[in-house]
Symmetry: C2
Subunit: 339 residues, 2 copies
C-alpha cells in the first residue's frame, strides 16, 4: 500500500461523445477514515451509461459531477481500515467509491458482499444494472406468459437480465445488439429467441422489418434503454396495452444528431429523469365499468355535487358547424346537438 492514491476527475464537460481529454488522471494523498467511516482499496470499478448524464451540467435525477471532481461510480473493494461498526479490515464491500483507487465511505454507504460469488457481480448482474432489470420488469414491464419482449443493448447487464427473467416467465424474447458476435451471445448464452444485429440495418424502417419478423405477434414490452432509431423501429409494432419501461436512452445521451424541432428526446428525458408514468387510454376500454361509474357519480350529478355544462346546437343540419367550432374551442361545456 502506497501513501498515494489515484483517481480520475472530470476535466471538462463533453461536447457530444466524451473524448479522453474530458478526463484527468490525478494522484493525491490517501485520506484517513473518520469515526463511522471505512477506508476502501478499490478492486473493481463499474462503468455505466448513466455516468454520461452526470458529465453534463443540465438537471438530471442526480447531481452533475463538478469540474475537477472525481467521476462518480460504484466500486467493489477491500476494507483497509475501519472506524465503522460492523466492518473489519479485509471485508469485501461495495459502494459509491467513484473512479478512484481508494475511497472513504460511511458505514451506511458501504455494503458487505456475500463471498460465495465473484465480487464483480455486485457491480453487474447482482448490482445496480441487475436490480434495474429485475425491478423494472416486475413493476413496469408486467410480463405475461405468451407475450413478446424486445430489448436493446441485449448483452449488457440490464438487457441480459431482462431477457432471461422474461424468458423464464414464458415470454418470447427478442434481442437487439450491435454485431454478429453479440447476437450469438444473446441467443446462446442468454437464451433469447431471436437476436437482431442493428449494425446490419441503416434505417429505422429496415430495423422495423427485422423486429417485425422476429416478433410475429407484435411487441408487448419494449424495454427502453436505447431510444433513437430503435424506438422509432419498435413503437409501431407495439400491441395494445403494451408497456415501455424507460430507464435509459443511450442513443440520445450525446445530445448530437437531435434536431431542435424534434421534441421527443426532451420529453423522453423528462419522463426518465422525473420517473413519470404516461398512460394512453381510451374510454371504450372501460365501458364495463359504466354501472360502477353511474352508481358512484350519478347521485352526485343528481344532487348538484358534480356540476356539468352543456353547449347545445339546434338541428342536425348544424352539427358540422358545431363540430368544426368545437375543435377550435368555440364551445363552452359538453357539445350536444338537439334534433
Amino acid at each position: 500500500m502506497s501513501d498515494q492514491m489515484s483517481r480520475i476527475t472530470l476535466a471538462r464537460r463533453p461536447e457530444g461523445a466524451p473524448v479522453p481529454d474530458d478526463f484527468k488522471f490525478e494522484t493525491c494523498d490517501i485520506p484517513s477514515p473518520g469515526d463511522g467511516e471505512v477506508l476502501i482499496e478499490v478492486t473493481h470499478l463499474s462503468l455505466d451509461p448513466y455516468m454520461r448524464g452526470r458529465m453534463d451540467d443540465s438537471e438530471s435525477y442526480a447531481a452533475s459531477v463538478e469540474l475537477g471532481e472525481t467521476m462518480t461510480g460504484q466500486g467493489v473493494g477491500r476494507v483497509l481500515e475501519s472506524k465503522a461498526d460492523g466492518f473489519s479490515k479485509g471485508d469485501t464491500v461495495t459502494g459509491m467509491t467513484g473512479w478512484a483507487s481508494h475511497a472513504i465511505l460511511s458505514g451506511g454507504e458501504a455494503r458487505k458482499l456475500d463471498d460465495r460469488l465473484p465480487p464483480s457481480t455486485a457491480l453487474g448482474v447482482l448490482g445496480m444494472p441487475g436490480l434495474t432489470g429485475w425491478a423494472g420488469l416486475k413493476l413496469y414491464g408486467k410480463p405475461k406468459k405468451g407475450e413478446t419482449l424486445v430489448v436493446g443493448a441485449a448483452t449488457g447487464p440490464v438487457g441480459s437480465m431482462v431477457g432471461q427473467l422474461a424468458k423464464a416467465e414464458g415470454l418470447r424474447t427478442v434481442a437487439i445488439a450491435g454485431g454478429e458476435e453479440k447476437c450469438r451471445i444473446a441467443t446462446e448464452k442468454f437464451g433469447f429467441d431471436a437476436a437482431i444485429d442493428h449494425h446490419a440495418h441503416d434505417s429505422a424502417e429496415s430495423l422495423r422489418d427485422a423486429v417485425s419478423e422476429a416478433a410475429p405477434d407484435g411487441v408487448d414490452i419494449y424495454w427502453e434503454n436505447v431510444a433513437g432509431p430503435l424506438l422509432e423501429a419498435v413503437l409501431p409494432l407495439m400491441n395494445q396495452h403494451g408497456r415501455i419501461p424507460l430507464c435509459g436512452m443511450v442513443a440520445w445521451y450525446d445530445g448530437k444528431n437531435i434536431k431542435d424541432t424534434n421534441q421527443l428526446p426532451s420529453v423522453w428525458r423528462a419522463i426518465l429523469v422525473n420517473r413519470l408514468q404516461v398512460t394512453g387510454f381510451i374510454s371504450f376500454d372501460h365501458f364495463d365499468r359504466m354501472d360502477e361509474f353511474h352508481e358512484e357519480v350519478g347521485p352526485k350529478v343528481a344532487n348538484g355535487e358534480i356540476a356539468y355544462l352543456e353547449d347545445v346546437a339546434e338541428g342536425l343540419k348544424n352539427a358540422p358547424e358545431a363540430f368544426i367550432a368545437m375543435l377550435k374551442g368555440g364551445n363552452t361545456g359538453k357539445q350536444i346537438v338537439k334534433l
Copy 2:
C-alpha cells in the same frame, strides 16, 4: 313521424381542420328494425373531439368512417318501434346512433336511461366523457391528497369531471381554458383553485410561467387531452413520479403545424391509440428492494440459471477509454475496470 330520415355523411377527408364541405346532409328512407333490434328517433347527438380522428383514414383505435358513410357518434333518443327484448316504444335510450335523425340498434347496443336525469347527461357528464375522466383519474392519475392536477380544456366534459373529482380528493386543481369566460366558469362552477386563459399566452414559455405560478408545488398529474404547447408548458413542471393520463391530443388532431422532424406527435399518438404505458424509472429508487432481489436472483446466478457476462478493462488509467468505447457499444457484457 315522416317516412324520411336525415343524416350527415362524410363527404371527403379533411385536410387539416374540417370545413363544412367535408360533410354532406342527406335524406333517406327510415329503415325498419329486424328481430332483436329497435328503431330510435334521435333527440340529442353528442359531438366529441375523437370524431376528428375517425375522419382520417389512418389507423386508429377504431375504424375510420368511410366516405359516404354516416358520421359516427353517440345519440340519445326515444324508441319508436321495438323488436328487442326489454325495450318498449317510448323508452329513452342511448347508443351509437351516428349523426342521424333515426337509427337502428340491436338490443345489446342500446342502453335504457334513468329518467330522473335529463337524457342529454348520458352524452356528457354521465356518458363517455364523464366515464373517461372518472376511470382515467382513478386508474392512471392515481390522485393523492395534497397533490396538484393540471387539466386542459377544463370546462369540457372530461376536464370538468377530472377537476371536480380531483378537488373532492383534496388536490389543488389548475384549469387551462380558452378565454376569460371559460376561466370564470372553471373556478366558479367547477371549483378549480386556479384557471389560466391560454389565449393570453402566445408561447409555451409564457404559459409555463403562468402554470408555475398557479402550481407552486409543481404538477403531480397532468391530464393530457390537448398536447401541443400545453404539454410543452407543463412537462418541465412535473414533479417526480408524476402521472400523465393521455386520452387526447386535440392540438395535434389536424396534423398541421407539426414539423416532419418532430417525432413527439407520432409517439404520443401511438401511446394513445395503442393504450401504451411508458414509465420512467431509476434503479436508485428501488435500492430498498436490493435484499429481495438478492434473495430471489442471487441463488440463480450462483447455480448458473441466470448467466452474466463481464467485459473487463485493466487499470484505472484505462477507465476513460473503456467508458468512451462502452457508450459506442464497444463492450460486450457488463463493463468493469479491474484496478
